[in-house]
Symmetry: C2
Subunit: 126 residues, 2 copies
C-alpha cells in the first residue's frame, strides 16, 4: 500500500496547489478526460472542458485547501486504478471561517500517469 499512499499524496499535493492558484487552475484540464465526471455540491458535470469551466468559475477570488487526511485504496483487481478520499479545510477569500470539505477521486492509470475518472466534492456543514 506504500506506493498507493505515495501516489495519492503526490496527486493531491499537485491538484490542490494547482487549484489554489487562480492563474494555474485551468491547467487541471489535463487531469480529466471526456468520460470524466465531477459532482460538485450535488451538481453533475461531465467531460474535461465542462469540469474545468465549472471549477474556474467558482465565486471566490482566493481559495486554500488545507488537507487533513488522505486515504487511498486500489480500486480494481485488474488495473492499477485507485480511490483517494480527502478531508480537510477550505479557506475562501481570507475568511476566518474554514469549512470542512470531503473529496473523492478515482484515478485511472494512463501511459505512466493517471487521469481523474470520478471526482465528488462536498462541503460538510456541522
Amino acid at each position: 500500500m506504500a506506493d498507493i499512499a505515495l501516489i495519492a499524496k503526490q496527486f493531491t499535493d499537485f491538484y490542490y496547489a494547482t487549484f489554489d492558484s487562480a492563474a494555474n487552475r485551468s491547467n487541471l484540464v489535463s487531469l480529466y478526460r471526456d468520460s470524466s465526471m465531477l459532482t460538485w455540491e450535488g451538481e453533475q458535470h461531465q467531460g474535461s472542458a465542462t469540469i474545468v469551466q465549472k471549477i474556474t468559475s467558482l465565486p471566490f477570488n482566493t481559495v486554500q485547501h488545507k488537507v487533513t487526511t488522505i486515504d487511498a485504496q486500489p480500486s480494481s483487481p485488474a488495473i492499477a486504478s485507485l480511490i483517494v478520499s480527502v478531508t480537510g479545510l477550505l479557506v475562501v477569500d481570507d475568511s476566518t471561517l474554514a469549512l470542512n470539505f470531503s473529496q473523492v477521486f478515482h484515478l485511472i492509470p494512463d501511459g505512466g500517469s493517471y487521469y481523474v475518472f470520478n471526482d465528488i466534492f462536498r462541503l460538510n456543514y456541522g
Copy 2:
C-alpha cells in the same frame, strides 16, 4: 444517473440501519468479500471477517448515522460498478455532540446485487 442515485440511496439506507443496530451490525459481513478493503480512521483492514470484526468491536454502545448528502457516479465504463460518497453526522452513545463523518463505498455488481470492494471512513474534525 437516476438508477445510480436510487441504488446509492437504497444501499446507504440499508447499510446504516444495519450498522446502527448493535444486534444486526454483524450482518454487514454479507456485503463484503475476501478482497474487500476498509480504511477506518486511517487503519487498514482487508477481508469480510476482518472488516466486520473491526466494525463490531468499535468502542461505543449506541450509534446513529444521520446522512446529510449522498453522491454517486458510475466508476467504470465496463461494468455497472459505482462510487458512493456519503457525508453526515455521527451521534455516539447519546452524546449531544454530533461528529461530521465522510464515507466512500465502491460497489461492485454481483449476481443481481452489489458487494463493497472499497470502504473508507473518516471523522471530520472542524
